[in-house]
Assembly symmetry: C2
């Protein structure tokens, strides 16, 4: 039943990952060349040498080719937050978790700048990204509730959710400023400025 039995790390899974990686590489190249909207799934498929139908079996939507990692990043952020010592305040822990996430990203600053700019240029892409980021909030809430002390106060969930949402909003603001500046400003300092303004 389990096809991975006897296979080193699962052959099927590995080939699937390889194909996925090739799709992302090819699609990203086309997106950056012609723009996200102007590139069709048909073009991506034929460029790789596979059918449109099979392409949709690897990525359910066109946006997922760009944002596919996003769900995993959310999980990584949650794990990073959970790994922070219990003594830290929510803001301290969230800051450290966000920093850990950014440091773990495999993109070079140039690529990150290009991708983020593309995200700003395409409305549908931006919309999907915001939607996925919304889900990050849900992932972070349980740990923040724990840090706030699990009281019976029904407002604890509201407080935790607000903290998660605002931390992500500050992160987004800092990233945004970084992109607008062409990658020249210090993103970490921008984040601290954002938090200071909100708490001020």
């Amino acid at each position: 039943m389990d096809l991975r039995a006897g296979n080193p790390a699962g052959l099927r899974e590995r080939t699937r990952r390889a194909v996925q990686a090739e799709i992302v590489a090819t699609a990203m190249r086309l997106f950056l060349e012609r723009g996200f909207e102007a590139t069709t799934m048909e073009q991506i498929a034929s460029e790789i040498g596979m059918s449109r139908r099979s392409l949709f079996r690897y990525f359910g939507t066109k946006e997922d080719i760009v944002l596919g990692d996003h769900a995993e990043h959310g999980e990584a952020l949650r794990a990073a937050l959970e790994a922070r010592p219990a003594g830290e305040t929510p803001w301290e822990a969230l800051r450290a978790a966000l920093k850990a996430l950014f440091d773990s990203l495999p993109y070079s600053p140039e690529d990150f700048l290009k991708i983020t700019s593309m995200l700003h240029a395409s409305p549908s892409l931006r919309a999907r990204q915001l939607e996925k980021r919304q889900k990050w909030t849900d992932l972070l809430v349980p740990d923040i509730v724990r840090r706030l002390g699990a009281t019976t106060d029904p407002m604890t969930a509201v407080r935790a959710r607000a903290l998660a949402a605002c931390a992500l909003a500050c992160s987004e603001t800092a990233t945004d400023a970084w992109v607008r500046s062409g990658g020249t400003i210090d993103m970490e300092r921008a984040f601290d400025e954002a938090v200071a303004a909100v708490r001020g």
Copy 2:
């Protein structure tokens, strides 16, 4: 050139508004009956007695039928913020502006609950809403910059943007909690709890 000349308030414009209102009324009824995704533009058009093509001339996208007012609400929020006395802190002014916006909404609590629930149920609708709300942030930034004191510090824009984004995030959190509770909790108190948690 100006067709409104000699016309009481512009006839063309008035009939257009009337048709728009009928479209919204009919579409909303169908959306609430069958769900947003399950209702097609074709069905809405034939229900009203117009062609699908003309329907698209009134609303560029299906989402706009639900979220069309959203852009106007953003402008109303900006105006409300600008109308607040200069002595108020950004948080005070933002809170008052948001309250003014909510009080001005024409929906009954029941309708508001239904619409908001629909927004939560449909991913594409939610994505578009988040995108439009993002634009609200841009509208609010100039006034907040003014309140922070227009220094030459380039980080002022970051601080202002963070404040706007977090205020909207707290509003969203409060609304969300209100919807989850089925409209029983006090939204205003939830907002204050959210802000208190963030400013910690």
